[in-house]
Symmetry: C2
Subunit: 356 residues, 2 copies
């Protein structure tokens, strides 16, 4: 059966990436060794890491004032590592509270310094992006989540502020061109648009480092990672390799302009179908709809279950909403073919006709 992978993450990867990754497990670059068996301080792995770093800089249009690290620990660890490195105990950082992940980031930051919530959308269950920011002038930085995977909302501009901007881009990185030079720090778990689970991209503008007085454990200190040329400890070799292959695929397939065009085609197709079917109701403010994750509901739990069972029969996986919000969710990351969205829209039409 042809599968349609709408998983929210870990999620669909390009077929070419999967094929090359499987080959590398047998024999990596004709070394006669598996990618799982090579040392991380070999020229083989260094070439992988450097290519990945180069793709990141080139896709983002960044110069030498930025460093590209592949770190362990997932974006959740960055919730801690960012304030540990950048927020002094008596200082204040501004955070946007627009969803479950931003909220977790706020909780971790409070262990290290003061948090000013610049804006919250909690009043409407995070079904919109609150863009009216109140940022204290002395804030060490502003932190926000560019795309809310769980709630299905996305920022469509970069917040305008004088303080350094830090973004969790886990679920929409590399889906569109942005002025990446406006960020002082960007991080993203790889398992949506840039690889498999097990590694986190962290891009750092060097001038924000070294400004706090806290003693930082070396393994958590961005400066130590930079000094060690991004090889402070054994990296997750295979996860870095898969991310490099995925970035290479983005570059070879038209870069971020092409990624955005395809994302808009997928999202237009899906949201137009949702708007046309009275049985299916999108839950978020129209202007804040995510290009990556569409969240919607059916009129009753019974209909939701019936529809989800139908999805399963049709090889459509990942359609159930996040356990914290319920409903349905279709995730449409870079590697998802338009034909999968079309198949889903067709199923919605059939289902609506049946229940008309």
């Amino acid at each position: 059966m042809k599968m349609h992978n709408f998983n929210s993450g870990p999620s669909i990867l390009p077929q070419e990436v999967l094929a090359e990754a499987a080959n590398a497990i047998h024999n990596f670059n004709n070394t006669g060794l598996s990618i799982l068996e090579i040392g991380h301080r070999t020229s083989y792995f260094e070439a992988v890491l450097h290519e990945a770093q180069q793709h990141v800089k080139s896709l983002m249009g960044l110069g030498n004032d930025y460093e590209v690290l592949y770190l362990h620990g997932g974006a959740t660890t960055q919730f801690m590592q960012v304030p540990m490195n950048l927020l002094d105990a008596n200082a204040t950082a501004a955070y946007c509270d627009n969803g479950i992940w931003g909220n977790k980031a706020i909780k971790e930051a409070k262990l290290f310094g003061n948090v000013a919530v610049a804006a919250s959308s909690a009043d409407k269950n995070h079904t919109y992006i609150n863009k009216q920011l109140n940022i204290p002038a002395n804030s060490a930085y502003l932190h926000y989540t560019t795309n809310n995977t769980v709630e299905g909302t996305q920022w469509h501009h970069i917040p305008d502020t004088e303080v350094p901007v830090i973004a969790d881009m886990s679920s929409d990185i590399f889906c569109r061109p942005m002025d990446f030079n406006r960020f002082s720090l960007i991080y993203a778990g790889a398992q949506k648009n840039m690889g498999a689970a097990g590694v986190t991209l962290t891009v750092i503008k060097k001038d924000i480092l070294g400004k706090i007085s806290r003693a930082i454990p070396p393994i958590m200190d961005y400066r130590k990672h930079i000094e060690a040329d991004a090889l402070l400890n054994t990296p997750p070799v295979f996860a870095v390799y898969v991310s490099m292959l995925t970035l290479r695929w983005i570059v070879n397939n038209g870069g971020l302009v092409a990624m955005e065009q395809k994302a808009k085609e997928r999202a237009d197709l899906l949201y137009n179908a949702l708007d046309a079917q009275p049985l299916f109701t999108p839950t978020v403010a129209r202007e804040d709809r995510s290009l990556m994750n569409a969240v919607f509901v059916l009129p009753t739990p019974e209909l939701e279950k019936e529809f989800l069972d139908l999805c399963k029969q049709q090889g459509m996986v990942g359609v159930k909403g996040h356990r914290s919000v319920g409903g349905l969710r279709v995730s449409m990351y870079n590697a998802l073919p338009l034909s999968s969205v079309q198949a889903f829209c067709d199923l919605m039409t059939d289902f609506s006709n049946k229940h008309a």
Copy 2:
């Protein structure tokens, strides 16, 4: 060319594990999806995680007073996470200083509390295990490294003490039966005997938790991981899968008794050859020789280079010593066939004859 993989880690894995991992990248368990594309909160991944946890408990002979976690961050992160969870600011922990990794663990622990060095082998460049331990009675725990990957030494018994024992077993875990119930915490980066780089096993006796007053960031708090059934955040799915396959391979190949027997066969073959060849000189105390990593030198840098070039020509990789100690090193993890050690011994004989 037939390769002989003597890498110190990431290192050789069983051929069966590599074949199954490559298959799972194409189609995992007939799901029609890649293992890289499945959600971590699916029954598919839960079965993988639970099987891995079960193999760990069964190989170690542990009961329900222990929890098995697969964590991000490598053993280096455990150097921090152990004292963060277990060492109060005014308390003391005892550490053995028998090599580069134990030393790094000591440095991280000092950021959290007091460290008493129970024994050090620094006086002889860590070429032996100092087993005369001086452990303050009020120590929160004793921390030691069971096998020193870089220096080639290994503990052949468990230190006898009343305080909780914590061991970094990264480079010799599952190479032999041990009384694992004598440990309060065991951790190991997976990339030697139990998988590929990108995940760290942490086995915790629950009664040591919750005894300190520090506010622990949730993502670093062992208790939060246990409460979340080892799925606090997105795990490194593929790395956990490869570890599960490797543990399954150990179980299906005779368990720890068989692993030890094979380790001794490999080590006896190699050390006997080293002792017989005057050109090759092992650097560590005979009684502390490691079953996993044999470290030795040749009389001159020129001869070392000539021999290393020969190794390369013969498809023998990973023979160069760690950058911090130099010389040569042959790592002999569980998956290494005896025939590779034999090939290496033959090469030593040829080389010695040529230079006789």
